[in-house]
């Protein structure tokens, strides 16, 4: 793989700046990542980091309420934002002559947001977010399981025990004062990384960033939650009735955080179990036996902790206990007998191809640098993680499976048809 060219700078107010010059296409892509997510929410204020992300698209002192979308779209660009447990990312990709526009908009909402905030905007975006929750977590089949699983997997005080979308009750209770406090506390240059990729001259771009962001004061004193890896000691089981016709079974195990020595082995283990139709779970459950309509598996590491998750929707006539039992047998067999010959090499080849494809555009490369800087502590640490996966051998994959999936009990969530009429 070609090395990813970038420069690293820190402004006097603490804003970290990553420049990734790439002139192949006449575009610039700006990714501004604030180190705050739902893990920083206080009790009774769930959903706040994400609601706040919505409000940041509602204008600032010098930008009208629909200005962010209007200006970027009119200039031929695209934009969006997203919120996870640990960080909130805002980004836009534009023709290369529109760099200053992106800097104006992002610096205005970092430095001058509160002046333009009002009750109407809060009420409106609260309604929008509650509709987002209805659409993505209540109406979508099986999606109710996500919240239940988070609460079953982690103890109540754990920052990951609730999802970024939050609860209707907490969203309802959010006040303008809450929003102001949240902004004052987290939306500061010294709590963010700005990554800029694309067709620009680095020295001029850095000077422009300094011009637009340099005057915004630092805050300092950010309290970070400590790394909070969790080991479960007892099996948690939940049953969620839903408007569905076939049961779905999810098994999830808490795993270590990002950058942990087991991260690569767990990711490779997930691929071995279910990356393609011939993987262990897919082959047994959907090709050889037809116990499942579909199965997915993923190792997801976040800043404070991780999870390893397997989800399968039953085939017609298959009860959830039978499906769960078979999944457990397959995981145990893999941990005991190892990975079939050639499989690891194929999965590494597949991971290599995916990695190259994912980085085929400026926006994704710039995003990867920003996220790695904030979440992993270094811009190129995500490349190191990829290299660690390529270097991982069978012993480590099997060992990780044994320690994290066999030697600790999972959280188990069944989604079952309402009224129990199935299987």
């Amino acid at each position: 793989m070609q090395p990813l060219e970038f420069q690293e700078h820190v402004l006097s107010n603490g804003l970290r700046v990553l420049l990734h010059p790439a002139s192949a296409a006449p575009v610039v892509s700006l990714h501004l990542c604030y180190h705050v997510g739902s893990a920083q929410e206080l009790p009774g204020k769930t959903g706040f980091a994400h609601l706040f992300e919505h409000l940041l698209f509602q204008g600032s002192a010098h930008v009208s309420s629909d200005g962010h979308f209007r200006h970027i779209t009119q200039a031929g660009g695209t934009l969006n934002g997203n919120t996870s447990f640990d960080r909130t990312l805002y980004y836009e990709t534009l023709p290369s002559n529109q760099l200053e526009l992106a800097l104006w908009l992002e610096s205005d909402r970092m430095g001058f947001f509160l002046e333009a905030l009002d009750q109407r905007k809060l009420d409106n975006q609260r309604d929008v977010v509650r509709n987002e929750k209805r659409q993505n977590y209540e109406l979508r089949p099986y999606a109710k399981a996500h919240e239940v699983l988070a609460a079953a997997l982690f103890p109540p005080e754990h920052p990951y025990a609730h999802l970024p979308i939050g609860s209707h009750e907490d969203l309802e209770s959010a006040t303008l004062a809450d929003v102001s406090r949240f902004f004052e506390r987290w939306y500061r240059p010294d709590n963010a990384t700005l990554a800029l990729g694309g067709d620009f001259e680095p020295r001029a771009a850095l000077a422009a960033i300094e011009r637009w962001f340099g005057e915004i004061p630092a805050r300092g004193g950010f309290e970070r939650p400590a790394r909070a890896p969790h080991r479960s000691s007892a099996e948690a089981r939940r049953v969620v009735p839903d408007d569905v016709n076939l049961p779905q079974v999810t098994l999830a195990w808490p795993t270590p955080e990002l950058n942990h020595a087991d991260e690569a082995a767990l990711e490779l283990a997930a691929m071995v179990l279910s990356a393609s139709r011939s993987s262990v779970l897919d082959r047994a459950l959907t090709l050889d036996e037809v116990l499942a309509k579909s199965v997915t598996c993923g190792a997801m590491s976040s800043e404070l902790a991780g999870r390893f998750q397997i989800t399968a929707t039953a085939a017609n006539g298959v009860a959830p206990d039978r499906l769960e039992e078979r999944i457990r047998e397959l995981v145990e067999t893999t941990a005991r007998e190892g990975v079939p010959a050639g499989v690891l090499e194929r999965m590494k080849t597949r991971a290599r191809a995916d990695f190259v494809r994912r980085l085929d555009n400026v926006s994704n490369r710039t995003s990867a640098l920003a996220l790695s800087d904030v979440m992993r502590g270094r811009p190129l640490r995500f490349v190191e993680a990829f290299e660690a996966l390529q270097a991982c051998d069978e012993t480590r994959v099997v060992d990780a499976l044994r320690r994290h999936l066999i030697e600790q009990p999972p959280a188990v969530v069944w989604v079952v048809p309402k009224g129990g009429a199935s299987a």
């Binding site: 023709p95 929008v128 089949p141 037809v290 085939a315 190259v356 085929d360």
Partner: protein, 474 residues
């Protein structure tokens, strides 16, 4: 504030958007074409972004050619192509693509079955060998067929779980009716699935995979010349297939059905008890992509419901808070897709949301304001500079042009229309093609909570339908 920061702050004017620099130079991808000796049509565009080949192969095994009673045959036939070849079982075939780091998949749409391959250049030759085997020597195994059918039975069983899918099924049934396979879900229904044999699937595939009806769309660093070299082994095997004379004469086209016309606006409601939101589809039949009005209409639609700051989204999301998002489009396609608005709204706002949608459509008949027109023109024109960065964007460009029969510079046609049309021409176009009083409205939501308010919209009581779109007895 430090001294340097203070002086820096003096240099920026935050009062409005800063002036843009000179527009960057860009150009549309250049498409090269050739008809090979077998009759296959190849179109390719060079792209230097990555050392990869992206290839799309299409042949006219689309849903429109399914016989009635065999709905779902096209997608079943396409699925069976991924179930092994004469030489390789299903898992062996999957492993062979994985070993090359290649991604490969097959789908079908109304017109065609489409195979997509993405692979690094140095593995392209080996990947194309596999693709040729998939197309020309599929396994057609009985055991595999029974398994695929069993999985489809499970899919049919879960179909009504998802309100979005129900809305789409109801819409298709009302839009096309029962006399064409397009009025049924792409995987058919329980009866058609039971009636379809392995032999049906194999025959359907073989009859459509005729060299003169195959199209190859590719992008790679070496453009057409390189793509033809990689396609050569497939081409050699295609030359051995005799073209069916009748099929060659028809060029694989099928006679497209006409959407049902329904006159004045009616509401169709599929009940979903206790649903927190109602899924809405609102629209009417409209023009195919080859119609001269399609590009102008799709450009004007940007201001109505094509982007975040369009009238529909600003009203229903950013002012009213009824929804997480709403979009409209003139879908075009080869056979006259609809004009359609799609959204999901809070149950309590269902009727009010529909009233607002109708009001916005009615209000748009006079065309976009000068400000909206300038906005759309600028957005479309400037976005061209960033649209052709990736190999996938190049492939989509070739595929869109070849499959829809558009000109190589079609993005510029759209711009020319915005630059050159007069307000009265735009109004006339919208009056002809936007019909806010002849809407087909589909609601998938809680009947008890919405029916009364829906009946007060002036379109009569909602017609009750089941999750397939068939009318329920009163």
């Amino acid at each position: 504030m430090s001294e340097s920061a203070e002086s820096a702050a003096k240099r920026v004017d935050r009062s409005g958007p800063p002036p843009a620099g000179p527009a960057p130079r860009w150009r549309l991808p250049r498409i090269e074409r050739e008809r090979t000796p077998s009759g296959m049509r190849v179109a390719a565009t060079p792209c230097d972004a990555t050392p990869e080949l992206l290839l799309e192969l299409t042949w006219p095994a689309g849903r429109g050619r399914e016989p009635l009673g065999r709905e779902g045959l096209a997608s079943l036939s396409a699925a069976m192509l991924e179930e092994g070849t004469r030489k390789l079982s299903t898992p062996q075939l999957v492993d062979a693509f994985d070993a090359l780091g290649a991604s490969f998949s097959i789908q079908c749409d109304d017109d065609d079955t489409l195979a997509h391959l993405r692979v690094l250049e140095d593995r392209a030759e080996a990947a194309l060998e596999l693709v040729a085997d998939v197309l020309l020597e599929p396994r057609w195994g009985e055991r595999e067929f029974e398994r695929v059918r069993e999985q489809r039975r499970a899919s049919l069983r879960t179909r009504a779980d998802d309100p979005k899918r129900v809305a789409s099924d109801v819409w298709s049934r009302l839009y096309w009716g029962r006399s064409t396979p397009l009025g049924s879900p792409a995987i058919g229904d329980a009866a058609s699935l039971a009636a379809t044999s392995l032999n049906d699937a194999a025959t359907f595939h073989r009859s459509a995979l005729r060299p003169r009806a195959i199209r190859a769309h590719a992008t790679c660093r070496g453009g057409l010349e390189q793509a033809l070299r990689w396609l050569a082994p497939l081409e050699a095997r295609l030359c051995e297939i005799a073209d069916d004379a009748a099929f060659a004469a028809s060029r694989g086209e099928w006679s497209a059905p006409t959407p049902l016309t329904r006159g004045r606006t009616r509401i169709h409601l599929a009940d979903r008890r206790g649903a927190p939101q109602s899924e809405l589809r609102v629209g009417h039949p409209s023009v195919a992509s080859s119609h001269p009005a399609w590009l102008p209409l799709s450009a004007l639609n940007q201001a109505l419901g094509g982007v975040f700051t369009s009238r529909l989204n600003l009203n229903l999301r950013e002012t009213k808070g009824f929804t997480y998002g709403i979009r409209s489009s003139f879908e075009g396609g080869r056979h006259g897709g609809p004009f359609a608005v799609a959204t999901s709204v809070h149950t309590a706002n269902t009727a009010e949301a529909l009233r607002e949608i109708e009001r916005e459509l009615e209000g748009f008949l006079t065309g976009p304001s000068d400000e909206e027109l300038a906005f759309v023109r600028s957005a479309l024109e400037q976005s061209l500079a960033r649209q052709f960065e990736t190999p996938q964007a190049h492939l989509s460009f070739v595929s869109t042009i070849e499959r829809l029969g558009l000109a190589d510079d079609y993005p510029l046609t759209r711009l020319r229309y915005l630059n050159e049309s007069t307000a009265s021409e735009r109004r006339a176009l919208l009056e002809e093609h936007l019909r806010p009083r002849e809407l087909m409205i589909v609601v998938v939501g809680d009947h008890a909570a919405t029916a009364k308010a829906l009946a007060e919209l002036g379109h009569g009581s909602p017609v009750r339908v089941d999750s397939s779109g068939d009318e329920l007895p009163r």
